[in-house]
Amino acid sequence: MALLSIRNLSVDFATAAGSFRAVDAMDVTVDPGEILAIVGESGSGKSVAMLALMGLLPWTATVTADEMSFDGQDLRAISPRTRRRIVGKDIAMIFQEPMSSLNPCFTVGFQIKEGLKKHLGLDARARQARALELMEMVGIPDPARRLNAYPHQMSGGMSQRVMIAMAIACRPRLLIADEPTTALDVTIQAQILDLLTDLQAETGMALILITHDMGVVAETARRVSVQYAGQKVEEQQVGPLFARPHHPYTSALLAALPERATTRILPTIPGVVPGQFDRPRGCLFAPRCAFADETCRTTPPPVQPPEIGRARCHYPLMQEGRG
């Protein structure tokens, strides 16, 4: 049975200019112990979907879904109080900006131990021991001293390690990493990704990695879901996706990787993700797609069968490599 199963998730934000759909009919399935990457550019609704799962969206957001269940429990039906017993314990999340994600007023140790007390009910001595163990697990030198440090006394990479320690404190079964390396130096990025995959292998938790970096996807994930303008446009195992992308958007993303460039100037995808007021009638990618015709511009595309990567496209690409 799937650990996490989300079907037809939509999130709308009430704005001054009317309602804005940030996530549109998104499906996510994660099996226990799996690594799923959700890829897409800024504004494609990746983070919002995960925040909706965590129940962390502001009150202006309306969340609807046909199914949203974790470990067989329907997350739509439970009270906020019951959800708080799952969130932070069985599902944990780390964020893009480690420096601002830690509370400047409290020591690192205090912030790690908070969850241990709330979810596991450990006493002070057990909390201290577990906090030290966690700091060692995430590779922080001199953990006993670091527990008494305040966030402003630490670097970005160190802060992200603390965030990870905090997230895995109660041995979650699903960890959501929302662009965990975007704000960090390139050398630190690799360390943090290695740490995440090592911890995943060690603890057997499932990992959802949200990123816009195809390089990160290739290194870490097993299955990839490509997201565009709030919709899932393609989903495949990582190998086949890189070899045979079926959606023109996936193909264009891959073509933009420096490693794959054949010309001196990197290929780009012209235009931007559609916003609140310029949402196309047909395929959402049609205005930027090299292959779009009249059908694409007027009719929303069907979802292709799993063999064709569930591509949301009228004319999925079928040949090897670039379309």
Binding site: L51, M54, V87, G88, P104, C105, G115
Partner: protein, 336 residues
């Protein structure tokens, strides 16, 4: 920390000198002559006037008068009241506890109500409670204090008879001053009902004096909380599954306290100096009333000394606030 404290204390010196100069100049700019006021309707002879004129040192140039005053102040001598012939220092400290007691009660009342109200309003932003509270706060802030005091007196003292109209305690009770704080002294006296009487006398002045700080604190808390609630670390705290009470009341409020502490500090300053209206309306024997009387009598030493002491109190409160910043936010401590 010690070095920071010493540095801050050094900055007190120019402020102190400035206040001394301004209070000295201010009272002399006012038209009126203290000797004529003392003489009252009876008047006095030319010789007696000249004698007093010399005695108070008015025949000296202003610079010399100021120098004499300043050297006195630096040796702890604030002068003697022209009217009561008692040292300014003694008069001030006989009356100051009454003002301090009232100010403390008012600020505690303002914090106890304003802080939670601001937090609840921020958490329920845009909803009914928020709108109702913010409108009430605006009314409280703009209301003339004397009118508000009279309204409360009419309702609670006049119509309902629940609270006394003026004074600090019923005349039935007599006991020695130990601390100068009526609440403590009445409790120490062991007399039946004395403490309750002191409390009942405090209620209305406390509410009246606390109303404006209450409105300011509630509004400041709300806006500071709104800012903090959108921070990433609040999302982190919620992602840990913590209860709303802990997220809002601990993680958010602690960060929102810096601007709130600032307005609380400023409020305490204005309370000490600005209790004048409230003290006058409720016949509260504090320094506010004392200062007003002294200004009317042109009692130069009292006005000068009183202003100086009040300014010193305000400076001390400000310093305390600065030290508190560091305790609340370790980042500020590090910068010092």
């Amino acid at each position: 920390m010690i070095r920071y404290l010493l540095a801050r204390l050094l900055t007190f010196l120019p402020t102190f000198l400035g206040v001394t100069l301004i209070s000295f100049a201010f009272i002399r700019v006012l038209p009126g002559d203290p000797i004529i006021v003392m003489a009252g309707e009876r008047g006095m002879t030319e010789e007696r006037y000249a004698e007093l004129y010399r005695q108070f040192g008015f025949d000296q140039p202003l610079v010399v008068q100021f120098w004499t005053y300043l050297t006195g102040v630096l040796q702890g001598d604030l002068g003697t009241s022209y009217v009561t012939k008692r040292p300014v220092w003694d008069e001030f400290f006989a009356l100051f506890p009454a003002t301090l007691e009232l100010s403390l009660c008012a600020i505690i009342f303002a914090i106890a109500v304003g802080l939670p109200a601001g937090v609840i309003a921020a958490v329920n932003r845009g909803k009914f409670f928020d709108r109702a509270l913010m409108s009430t706060a605006l009314v409280g802030y703009s209301m003339p204090i004397f009118w508000w005091a009279l309204l409360l007196i009419i309702i609670f003292s006049g119509n309902l008879g629940w609270t006394p109209v003026s004074g600090r305690i019923d005349l039935l009770y007599y006991f020695p001053q130990v601390t100068g704080f009526m609440l403590i002294d009445s409790a120490l006296s062991g007399q039946n009902g004395a403490f309750a009487s002191a409390v009942r006398h405090l209620i209305l002045p406390t509410i009246v004096l606390g109303t404006i700080p209450l409105a300011v604190i509630a509004r400041q808390t709300r806006s500071a909380m709104l800012e903090v609630l959108s921070e990433d670390y609040i999302r982190t705290a919620r992602a840990k599954g913590l209860s709303p009470l802990r997220v809002n009341g601990l993680h958010a409020l602690r960060n929102a306290m810096i601007p709130v502490i600032t307005v609380i500090g400023l409020s305490v300053g204005t309370l000490l100096a600005g209790a004048i209206l409230t003290e006058t309306i409720f016949s509260w024997p504090g320094i506010g009333k004392w200062m007003v009387d002294s200004i009317f009598r042109r009692d130069y030493p009292v006005v000068q000394g009183g202003l100086l002491l009040i300014a010193s109190m305000v400076m001390i409160v400000n310093l305390t606030v600065d030290i508190l910043y560091g305790f609340i936010n370790p980042k500020i401590r590090a910068r010092k």
